[in-house]
Symmetry: C2
Subunit: 110 residues, 2 copies
C-alpha cells in the first residue's frame, strides 16, 4: 500500500518523539516491525482504512518536520563528509585506533 522505505524508518527514528502515541504506534508497527495494515487494524480493533489514513497523515507530519528541520538531510551530508575524511586518512595511513574510534563515535552520534 505504501512503499516501505528506509527514508521513513529514518524519519520515524528522528522525529517519533513529536508524534502522538497513536501515530507513533501505527507507523512503528508498519515501518519498523513490518506488520501489514490488516494486522495493525486487527490488533487495534479498527478498520484497515483507519490505519491507512492515520499512517498517511503521519508520513506527511514527519516529512513536514524534515522539511523544516532537515535533521536527516544534514545527517546524510555529514555521513558523506566523514566517509571522505576516513578514506583520506586511510590513504595517509594515519587511521590508527584512536582516530578510527573518534570517526566511529562521530558516525554513531546521529
Amino acid at each position: 500500500m505504501f512503499e516501505k522505505t528506509t527514508r521513513m524508518n529514518f524519519l520515524i527514528d528522528i522525529y517519533d518523539s513529536l508524534l502522538t502515541e497513536k501515530q507513533r504506534s501505527y507507523v512503528s508497527l508498519y515501518y519498523l516491525e513490518d506488520l501489514s495494515l490488516g494486522e495493525i487494524a486487527e490488533e487495534y480493533e479498527v478498520s484497515r482504512q483507519a490505519v491507512y489514513d492515520n499512517i498517511k497523515r503521519t508520513e506527511a507530519v514527519l516529512e513536514n518536520y524534515e522539511e523544516k528541520l532537515g535533521v536527516l538531510k544534514k545527517y546524510q551530508e555529514r555521513e558523506q563528509l566523514i566517509e571522505r575524511l576516513e578514506r583520506r586518512l586511510q590513504e595517509e595511513q594515519v587511521l590508527d585506533n584512536e582516530v578510527a574510534g573518534l570517526l566511529q563515535q562521530l558516525k554513531n552520534m546521529d
Copy 2:
C-alpha cells in the same frame, strides 16, 4: 528580565521554523537583535507584559523541542569530537588543506 543566553540563541537558530510567526518575531528581536521588552512592546503596540509572557512561553516551547529532539546537545557533542580529532591530526602532522577543509565543512554543517 530573562538571562539572554547563548543557549537560547542556539535553540532559536535550530527550531525557529517550528514557531508561529509572532513567537519567532518576539524571541528573534529579543535574543538575536537584542531589543528590550519595552522596545518590542512599542513596535508591536502591545503591553510589555504581553511580550514578556509570549517570550516566556516560547522559551518553554523551544526547550521542549530540544528535550525531545536533542539537536543542540548532539551538535555540542559532535563539536567536541571534531575538536579532539583535529588536535590528534595536528599532532600527527596530517592536517593538510584537504583534511582541514573536510573538518571545517563538518563543523559548519550544523
